[in-house]
C-alpha cells in the first residue's frame, strides 16, 4: 500500500510568485492534515480536512494560503503571493476515519524556499 506522497519534493521560487503543493493521502483515508516546519522551529498544524470539507484551518498563517481537497482525494496548498517567511518544509498527513483515534501517517514533505 502506497504511503502519503507529496509533490514536489523541493521548490525554489522568487518572492511574489505563486506555488502549489500537492498531497496524495493514503487511499481511503478521510482525514488529511497540513503542517509546516519553519527552520529551527516546531512542526506546526495548519489545517484539517475530513473528505472535502475543511474542519479546522486555525493554523493557516494568513489569507495568502489556500488549501483545497478536490473530491475528498488529493489536496493542494497554494501560496500566493509567496513571501520570504513562507520558506520551510510543508508536511501532509492522513488518517483513516476518526481523527480522535486513528494514527496520522506523514508524507516526506515539500521543502519550499522563497528567495
Amino acid at each position: 500500500e502506497a504511503g502519503v506522497t507529496q509533490f514536489p519534493s523541493h521548490s525554489v521560487i522568487e518572492k511574489g510568485q505563486t506555488v502549489t503543493l500537492r498531497c496524495d493521502p493514503i487511499s481511503g483515508h478521510d482525514n488529511l492534515y497540513w503542517y509546516r516546519r519553519v527552520m529551527g522551529k516546531e512542526i506546526k498544524f495548519l489545517l484539517h480536512f475530513v473528505k472535502e470539507s475543511k474542519q479546522d484551518e486555525s493554523g493557516m498563517p494568513n489569507n495568502r494560503f489556500l488549501a483545497e481537497r478536490t473530491g475528498g482525494t488529493y489536496s493542494t496548498l497554494k501560496v500566493q503571493p509567496a513571501e520570504l517567511e513562507d520558506s520551510g518544509v510543508y508536511f501532509c498527513a492522513s488518517s483513516q476515519e476518526s481523527p480522535s483515534t486513528d494514527t496520522q501517517y506523514f508524507g516526506p514533505g515539500t521543502r519550499l524556499t522563497v528567495l
Partner: protein, 116 residues
C-alpha cells in the same frame, strides 16, 4: 493549549551505547503523547504512543518511552543504538489519541547522531 519542549537539538552517541532523548510537555488537560522519527528523505513515522495504562511504552526498532505525569515528561530511550538510528526524533502531544481535529503539537525535534 499544549506545548512540548525538547531541550536537546542534537545528541551524539557512540554506536551500541544507550541513549535517552528528553521530552517535557505542558498542558492544562490530559494529553496523549507520541514520538515520531524522520529518517533522511522520508516522512515522519510513528515510533510509539502513550494512550493509557502502563507508563512504559514499547515501540518499534527497540525504542521505549516512559510517561511520568508528575514530571510531565515522556523521555525516549534505547539501550543500544545502531548507525541506522541516525534520524531526527519528534515528541508530540494531543488531546486525542489520533492527534485530533486540530492536529498534533510538536517539539522542535532532536537530531540523534550515531558515531561509529
Amino acid at each position: 493549549a499544549q506545548s512540548v519542549t525538547q531541550l536537546d537539538s542534537q545528541v551524539p552517541v557512540f554506536e551500541e551505547a544507550p541513549v535517552e532523548l528528553r521530552c517535557n510537555y505542558s498542558s492544562s488537560v490530559s494529553v496523549y503523547l507520541f514520538w515520531y522519527v524522520q529518517y533522511p528523505n522520508q516522512g515522519l513515522q510513528l515510533l510509539l504512543k502513550y494512550l493509557s495504562g502502563s507508563t512504559l511504552v514499547k515501540g518499534i526498532n527497540g525504542f521505549e518511552a516512559e510517561f511520568n505525569k508528575s514530571q510531565t515528561s515522556f523521555h525516549l530511550r534505547k539501550p543500544s543504538v545502531h548507525i541506522s538510528d541516525t534520524a531526527e526524533y519528534f515528541c508530540a502531544v494531543s488531546t486525542m489519541a489520533g492527534g485530533g481535529a486540530d492536529g498534533l503539537t510538536f517539539g522542535k525535534g532532536t537530531h540523534l547522531i550515531i558515531q561509529p
